[in-house]
Symmetry: C2
Subunit: 351 residues, 2 copies
């Protein structure tokens, strides 16, 4: 504690990201990174950026990238907003749309950054209890109890809800923003981007960090009604005019343009996931149905014991000691070789 910290700083409990341990022998399955590198065309686009582009400010509105993304999703550019990772977009969106004094509803088991943003801005937290097997039951979200945010598929539970289910929510919940965080939607969930023209309170968040293998570059996108997007731009231009650097803008464009490569890597990850799920179920693990690039599993023995055993073998997965998820592990999908190493440790006797 420091004498100059304001109340705001004192009340914070900052987000704790997964450990960033690196090394040749480490299998890193704890932050849902893509095991495959980005497209060669992305690397070429980065190398093509010259000193003249670096000495100048980047386009503050990332116009070129927004245009390419809009075309990709059959939207208008003014329905697209680009930020420094989807976390920055969430941070700006919470400030723009959830500081109305009415609180925020989000799943009780979900992305742990949501309550952190609430603390930062003094938003009342209204976690909504999960159903059986951590099912996200959208009918539990109440009208006029504040805005709504949830990931689809949810993290860390990996479960997705259907587009029809989200549309029912949007038909009911028309007075406040509904933010659908589709960070992991590439791997099996139905995107609600096609519904943006029908629901002016729907905001959808994407990232280049997962399906597009660009976590190192910090690139996130929001899609929504032009009015909602304009609100994000106003907050952005009151916080940081140039959040997305020149290299990230060019890399993002190249990634969207090489969509075949992206689809191939996503397909490989899904295939590895399905195979791993079968393997783990044969070993008496409970595995929730996953639409993400990670799985949420409960071993027949102690989750903490397995977490420690994997850690000792240089295999990093994510474990939260908090009930009711203290018997579960979140495992990112790596290459098949990564998964074989994981299974080998699982098959070793504890102790």
């Amino acid at each position: 504690m420091n004498q100059f910290w304001t109340e705001t700083v004192r009340r914070l409990s900052p987000y704790v990201p997964g450990e960033q341990r690196h090394g040749d022998d480490i299998v890193k399955l704890n932050t849902n990174e893509n095991p495959w590198p980005p497209s060669a065309k992305v690397l070429a686009a980065i190398t093509a950026v010259d000193g003249d582009a670096l000495r100048r400010y980047p386009d503050p509105e990332s116009t070129g990238l927004c245009t390419v993304l809009a075309k990709h999703h059959r939207l208008e550019s003014e329905q697209v907003f680009v930020g420094n990772g989807s976390d920055e977009i969430l941070a700006l969106a919470f400030l723009a749309y959830f500081t109305d004094g009415q609180g925020l509803q989000y799943p009780a088991i979900s992305y742990s950054f949501y309550p952190v943003y609430c603390d930062l801005y003094g938003i009342e937290k209204r976690p909504v209890e999960m159903g059986d097997q951590f099912l996200l039951e959208l009918e539990k979200f109440k009208v006029n109890q504040g805005g709504i945010v949830f990931p689809n598929p949810n993290a860390p539970t990996s479960r997705a809800v259907s587009r029809a289910n989200i549309e029912s929510l949007l038909r009911r919940h028309t007075q406040q923003v509904v933010l659908v965080d589709e960070a992991y939607a590439d791997f099996g969930a139905e995107s609600v981007i096609p519904m943006i023209n029908d629901y002016p309170n729907l905001l959808v968040c994407h990232t280049f960090s997962k399906g597009r293998s660009l976590a190192g570059l910090r690139l996130g996108v929001a899609y929504g009604d032009a009015g909602l997007i304009e609100g994000l731009r106003r907050v952005k231009n009151s916080f940081n005019s140039y959040p997305v650097d020149a290299l990230a803008q060019q890399a993002g464009i190249a990634s969207i343009q090489d969509n075949d490569y992206y689809q191939q890597t996503v397909a490989k990850i899904i295939a590895t996931r399905e195979w791993l799920v079968t393997e783990l179920e044969q070993r008496q693990f409970s595995v929730l149905p996953s639409a993400a690039n990670f799985i949420f599993v409960s071993p027949s023995g102690s989750a903490l014991e397995l977490f420690n055993r994997l850690n000792k073998a240089a295999i990093l997965v994510r474990y939260w000691p908090d009930s009711p998820i203290d018997q579960w592990l979140r495992i990112s999908i790596g290459t098949e070789a990564d998964m074989q190493r994981l299974l080998k440790v699982v098959d070793d006797e504890p102790g």
Copy 2:
């Protein structure tokens, strides 16, 4: 206006950056960019980053870059904080240190983002009147009238205050944070970084955008007491865990390591500035004494007329129509060839 915007969004008057018009024939002297490209070693560091580094999250705390910067300034790493441009650092610092309900003092003629941050966070604005010729008179800042922020040298006026002058302020003003924004200090002001160990409320902000030719990459730094820096980290980790991408971290390290190149380009800019000042004074311009990579000048005729004439000749400079600076132009220092083109338009008859 959109029905879903909160009061926060409605009350904003976002910052308006200088125009980002590009083209082969444009001489861009309106956003204080460096006319020289970054060091070849910076470009090499960017090219060396591979797909494996891009698919992974970057180090959330930019440890390597902070260590290099700490060594460069003879500080400890925990006295250094890196962000996505110095604007992001200002945005985080305002939230961490100026939202205590006591308001904020800043020069009445200064960086126009300061009042924008105040509006964003609801901080009471206390602009402090300038002295003669836009002199920044630090003795006008009051004790117990809230925190203090000022650029040194000031923007857009280009004038610097001395280290001794700032030390007097710090001796008096001990209960709230004093943020010295040294974005342009490379070009002639005395940095107060050597005083950080003596004043626990002193926060100093730097950028890689000006002297280090990396505006396109978005890299800013804050230096201060470890407690102040820890406050920034807490806010950052409640806003966006990974604000600085893998390429920017490596480029930043390479830039600091190639300090000779940086010193050479800064020296060239200062030489061009001094020559241009002489040329303009011979043409009856009032020119304020500049310690920056721009000059603040008042032509003998109308500033707006000259601004328009330059604009028509594809030479962009910055003009604000607001009194008392409506007879002044801010001109970034370009190459000598850029400045020759500017002088040619100046010498043309109006009309």
